[in-house]
Amino acid sequence: MPDQPHVIVIGAGFTGCAVAHDLALRGIRATVLDRGEIASGTSGRTHGLLHSGGRYCVNDKESAVECIEENKILRKIAKQCIEFNGGYFVALNESDLEYAPLFEAGAQECGIEIEKIPVDKALKVEPNLNPNVLAVYTVPDGTFDPLRLALAFAATAKKNGAEFRPYHEVTGLIMNGQGNVTGAEVWDRVTNHKYKLHGDMVVNATGAWAGAITKMVNAKASVVPTPGIMVAYDQRLINRVVNRLNAPGDGDILIPQRRMVCIGTTSFEVSDADYIPIEEDQVEFMYRCAVELVPAVKSTNQRGWWMSARPLVGSGESGRSLARTFKCFDHKATDNIDGLVTITGGKATTCRAMAETTVDVVCEKLGIRAECVTRETPLISYRNYYLS
């Protein structure tokens, strides 16, 4: 179709891949640019928790509702890269027990299916759980493989006509005489040459780096890169995700993944997310948190530590209190710059919904009427991304 609209998507993380998938299904030509490959930034480094929403059901209900809705959808469309064994929220002290009624009420309000189960039953099926556990609730948590989830969206997008250009870094945005964005200046890092790419719209899906893109045209994006440290240990001590039953804090989620368990996370703010050093005391702190939930972590070897920079939507508050929901900025409305839409915030679990919202905005701006069908569209094998 020669007059098919063309949208440039910057960023091939969860959001960019899901946006390309949604655009392709709505008949819009998408070209995805990323300075790395698929999921080379924040997305690849998530600790892989398919959130039930339980973590947010008390003080961030909007995010909790998004999580449980998307959790159910991803389990249907992306089963190929999810180990879905459910999760526990466990109370280990009086403060945790006091949080329990809030948790029960919040979960009910957000539509998250939880069940209080006897402690001895929980210890029987998860024998490595802290034996001093005081209360246990089940939640529909899971674990996904971060790279393969992003690849599955990308593979399906590609099958439907989207084009991916990995290792193509956007070095500038092209503006027309009216001060609107009409394309991107691109550096192909594979062959080391530079070129210009024109499009009807540019979607900035660079997450923690969204501010670096909007800065190119002096537009605003209130994104706060908020990294967290995670540590992996070399034994699979649990089959379910184990969450601390309390308000979101540091080191309160231990998840099984392949032959490992991974603990996360901390929360601090940085201005530039390109390289963030890891402090030894944070790794030790994570270890203590992991041992508290599952004491057998003491008998494991540390397999790796890493960090990931969350792209939280800023509101002048500090990291933990920032909502985990997402926001789509039409820069026509915020900066009087047409042709540029920024999507950021959110979580891996909600990437499909983030894409739906973004592509709704894009369609409205381009005058296209097409319904989103990503809820019902199973993703094809992630390996197809690499087939030309």
Partner: protein
Amino acid sequence: MNSEKWNITLIITRQKGDAKPYTQSFQLEVDPDEYVLDAIERVWAFHDRSLVFRHACHHSTCGACGMRVNGTEKLTCITPIRDVTRDGGTMRVEPLRNFPVVSDLVVDMSDFYVRLEQARFGQVAPVDEANLGYEKDPDDGGDYERLVDCIECGCCISACPISLTTPEYFGPAILAGAQHSYSITRNPKLLDFVDQENGVWRCHSAFECTAVCPSNVDPGWRIMDLRKRVIGHRIKKLFGRK
């Protein structure tokens, strides 16, 4: 990470487009407990933005960062610098062998993925099937599933002396994937798929695959196990049993 600092020379193989490969050296101050991938990422962040390398999870669950480090295949995100060099030493990083190079440290794994699809290898399996055949099954009392051990990093293909001689050979990860898939599904088509010159019979039992596998897959054992199953399948066919 800690106060101990080493000075090392990081030598990276570079290649852009059709130009000939060359090496480039970087003098780095590193913490020996950092991972090889951290040093590579710092070169990109602070020294040379044109460096192309593949990475995603940084904790050995995705398999994107397999490279050759001082001549041995490593998953660079979990390989401490301390394990591969010394203070004042060198760390030579090259792309994996036996795959075409895309650019710098990135290789083209598309044929590898086509074959993994042909081997019908799934990434999620029941917990007791996800472990190695000679391991004791965990007494988990339930029907749980998990992401399997093979992260499709390609290290075993790079290390395999037979893959080095011919790209036609399926290679360890593909045969291990078929073995795993067969152990779950008992689909005889998988045995027909591997029972050929470039399948299980090409392996010379060097076990380099098992030596470099960062993920405990033991492809060498799986290939030997697959041979036994292929022979059993042939005998059954000989006597007319399907």
